[in-house]
């Protein structure tokens, strides 16, 4: 039986999972495919474990993971080139930079966002679900809902902004507590 339960693996997993949402969002935004994003996410994790087992010193786990993810995204793009996937490593660098510039501790924000998602009205939930659970394109959503793509984009954008603002309010309220 294979075994993988060492204290270091446990600690690694804790730290990795704490940062998972930003990493998953980064990968998904770049590969634009849920299944591929999950595969890359898992591969990052497995490589992190291998590196840890090799005794590799990882000073900044979050940046290390993003770096590996970036390489895997580039690899994914290269493999998909025949299918006319737009490839731009410069953009990838900029997006990575955007994340690297932010503080690593996203935990409170993640939790606040989760709470805000729970409070979304049903129709908004339906839209977000079609986009992020079913992975539908705006064209497919427009066809299903008999609405224009532009209105759907605006609607989704508004929902996202509302969620970010809601999370912000929650965090401010928490900070205001004595």
């Amino acid at each position: 039986m294979e075994s993988m339960s060492t204290p270091s693996a446990k600690e690694l997993a804790s730290r990795f999972m704490a940062e998972r949402h930003a990493l998953l969002g980064f990968i998904y935004s770049m590969v634009r495919n849920l299944t591929a994003a999950e595969d890359i996410f898992q591969e990052v994790w497995l490589r992190l474990q291998e590196a840890s087992e090799r005794g590799e010193v990882i000073t900044d786990l979050t940046k290390w993971c993003r770096g590996v993810a970036k390489n895997l995204i580039l690899h994914y793009w290269r493999e998909k080139r025949t299918r006319k996937v737009v490839v731009d490593s410069e953009l990838l660098d900029l997006v990575e930079q955007a994340l690297n510039e932010q503080p690593d501790k996203w935990l409170e924000k993640q939790r606040a966002l989760m709470e805000c998602i729970e409070q979304l009205p049903q129709k908004a939930k339906q839209l977000v679900q079609m986009k992020y659970e079913e992975g539908l394109s705006f064209a497919a959503m427009a066809e299903r809902l008999q609405r224009s793509m532009e209105s759907l984009k605006m609607a989704l954008c508004r929902i996202r902004q509302a969620l970010l603002k809601c999370a912000q309010r929650k965090l401010q309220a928490m900070e205001a507590l004595p």
Partner: protein
């Protein structure tokens, strides 16, 4: 919508032009835009994970009472009534007090328990060990998973193959889950569970959950097809499976029955049973039993096990490729002979002769030497012998034949002379079981055609026929000592189907169904009476042996001593005449012996059954629970069920 956002959406859609891509990159040279983008990416990650998890948890799994509470509380926020508005300030006051109390509680617990474990340590599940093959299931796809891989919230893990096993560590190694073969487990996110939804959902198979510690006192909950099991204490170990539902090995768990919302506390060595919509606890009998002999698992066919009348000999049969599918030996450890034959065995009442099916014939053995005495041959070879039974006076041997695609033949032999007394093409499809009434006047035959026919034992004239209306097939029949009640072990025609079977108690004289006993998760394949008709013992394709209180029409104990196997279809049971030994033969290829001295010696069992089981006492609102104190005072029912099942 900001311009950079619009461009990023186009990028995500794959519809961005070269010029727009250049523009997007220019936007991203602005540090403020990059900050906004980082937040957007975090939000995307949270959305992807949250909605994948929510899709799987959208079923109404909470108890009715919880849903009612949720509804009443929801009414205050959506469409407030006049009364609610006028009472708002009171609510606000209450919330304020509650908030202060909560802050005080948090401070107190933190002081008492020391620093709490970081939230991030609670979230992950890690596949720690894997034997065989397993898959991660997400987005309606399944991909192979390796040891060391993480399970994201909202994903399921599925072990593939009966022999496969996986260990998943959860909440920073505070909880260990061992998945059995062909098991599918869904792992929800902590955010999902904060609203009372279960943390884990067992969709199929079996799972052992070990809770070493509760982080921040958060409970571990598992949804099963029957209900929701919640471990509330640390150091709790429980099994959940399709077959057993919930069984607690150590500690204590709470079980809420989904259908009614009733809940019951389940202690160590207990499992959850349901009768007439009421949930209660019954005793889970541990122990491994003594393996009397092995078979090679080659065919998914009928199995049979039986004791000789003096209780000294045991015989078992199934189909084997080498044709040696019969086993004969002493109950006590010793040599077990392998003899030609298959599927069904029966001892003559004097114990001197063993009859065994042998393809389309019947082979008679000298029980003491294993030598063939005679072969009874009649009819077409394709009419496979499926079942044998001697008449109570030992004069006749009844033989049931036929397959799924052939007629069902019932034969009665004068086995001493080798003469066929009568034979009937009694069923349009094969015979599955036979039973003589205790006085020998009637012979019952059950068939794959879903009927039971009552024959005149001596003449072979059909007296009546009983059709199982639910489309089930009878696989075993046993007359109660009263001579008029028959227990029918029934289940779906295809026993591999994961549908529950039942035991039907049928009054032959009045042709009425007296009761239907529910509990087995799959087809019931064997029944035996005990304690002068007060107890029924049944074996099922769900791998369990269950003990039924006949008068109360409910199970009171369960024994699970066999492994589930691919193509598992049957588990045969037999009780020794002195009721001290139980024999079981299963598709896992083992014949096991269980010592059940309590069944015979138990003083309470000698009284009428209504007084024999005082341990079930009504608790609040008709929920039944096992009362340990009553069990102990009753003498030994508690004790016998705790430890008296031994090798």
């Amino acid at each position: 919508m900001k311009r950079w956002h619009e461009l990023f959406l186009r990028w995500e859609e794959g519809s961005i032009s070269e010029a727009e891509l250049t523009e997007l990159k220019q936007w991203l040279s602005d540090v403020e835009v990059r900050r906004e983008l980082a937040e957007e990416l975090l939000l995307t990650g949270v959305l992807v994970e949250a909605f994948r998890a929510q899709q799987r948890l959208s079923l109404p799994v909470r108890p009715a009472a919880d849903r009612a509470r949720e509804w009443s509380s929801g009414a205050g926020t959506v469409g407030r009534s006049q009364w609610a508005r006028s009472a708002a300030w009171l609510t606000g006051l209450a919330v304020g007090v509650a908030l202060l109390t909560w802050v005080a509680w948090v401070l107190w617990t933190n002081l008492r328990l020391g620093p709490s474990i970081p939230e991030e340590e609670q979230a992950f599940a890690l596949l720690a060990e894997l034997e065989g093959e397993a898959f991660v299931v997400a987005q309606q796809e399944r991909r192979p998973i390796r040891a060391g891989q993480l399970l994201l919230p909202g994903q399921s893990i599925a072990t593939s193959g009966a022999a496969s096993q996986a260990v998943v560590n959860f909440r920073a190694d505070a909880v260990h889950m061992r998945l059995g073969g062909d098991t599918v487990l869904y792992v929800a996110s902590d955010a999902d569970t904060s609203h009372g939804r279960p943390l884990l959902v067992l969709e199929q198979g079996q799972l052992e959950v070990s809770v070493d510690r509760l982080i921040r006192r958060r409970q571990i909950s598992v949804r099963t097809p029957l209900g929701i099991a919640v471990a509330e204490q640390e150091q709790t170990v429980f099994h959940v499976s399709e077959a057993v539902g919930l069984m607690v090995v150590r500690g204590e768990a709470r079980f809420t029955y989904t259908a009614t919302g009733q809940s019951v506390r389940v202690g160590a060595g207990q499992y959850v049973a349901v009768a007439d919509g009421e949930v209660y606890t019954a005793r889970y009998l541990g122990g491994e039993g003594r393996v009397w002999t092995h078979f090679v698992r080659e065919f998914t066919d009928t199995v049979s096990v039986t004791f000789s009348r003096d209780g000294r000999w045991l015989a078992a049969a199934t189909r084997q490729r080498d044709g040696l599918g019969v086993r004969l030996g002493h109950v006590e450890p010793g040599e077990v002979r392998a003899l030609a034959g298959d599927r069904s065995v029966a001892f003559s009442p004097d114990g001197q002769v063993l009859a065994a099916g042998d393809s389309g014939n019947v082979r008679l053995y000298d029980a003491s030497t294993g030598e063939t005495l005679r072969v009874l041959e009649w009819g077409e070879r394709r009419w496979t012998t499926k079942y044998l039974t001697f008449s109570p006076d030992g004069r006749w041997l009844a033989v049931g034949k036929g397959n799924r695609d052939s007629v069902g033949v019932v034969e009665v032999w004068d086995w001493r002379t080798g003469k066929l007394v009568w034979a009937r093409l009694g069923h349009p499809r094969g015979v599955t079981a036979l039973a003589y009434s205790p006085d020998g006047r009637f012979l019952l035959s059950a068939s794959l055609d879903q009927t039971v026919t009552v024959w005149d034992g001596a003449q072979g004239e059909p007296r009546t026929q009983f059709l199982l209306v639910n489309g089930h097939v009878v696989r075993s029949m046993a007359f109660a000592p009263d001579g008029r009640t028959v227990a029918l072990a029934t289940g779906p025609a295809d026993t591999r189907v994961r549908r529950a079977g039942q035991i039907v108690l049928w009054d032959v004289a009045s042709e009425r169904v007296l009761a239907k006993l529910h509990g087995h998760g799959r087809a019931v394949s064997s029944v035996a009476w005990a304690a002068a008709g007060r107890i029924l013992i049944s074996g099922s394709a769900d791998t369990t042996i269950r003990f039924w209180d006949v008068e109360r029409r409910r199970e009171y104990a369960m024994l699970q001593g066999h492994r589930a196997e691919v193509g598992f279809e049957a588990l045969a049971v037999a009780l020794s005449p002195d009721e001290t030994w139980l024999a079981s033969l299963s598709f896992d290829g083992t014949v096991k012996l269980w010592r059940l001295g309590w069944l015979h010696d138990e003083p309470t069992m000698k009284r009428p059954v209504a007084h024999a089981f005082p341990a079930f006492l009504p608790l609040k609102g008709g929920i039944y629970a096992f009362d340990r104190e009553s069990a102990q005072s009753a003498g030994s029912l508690g004790a016998l069920l705790k430890g008296d099942v031994r090798n």
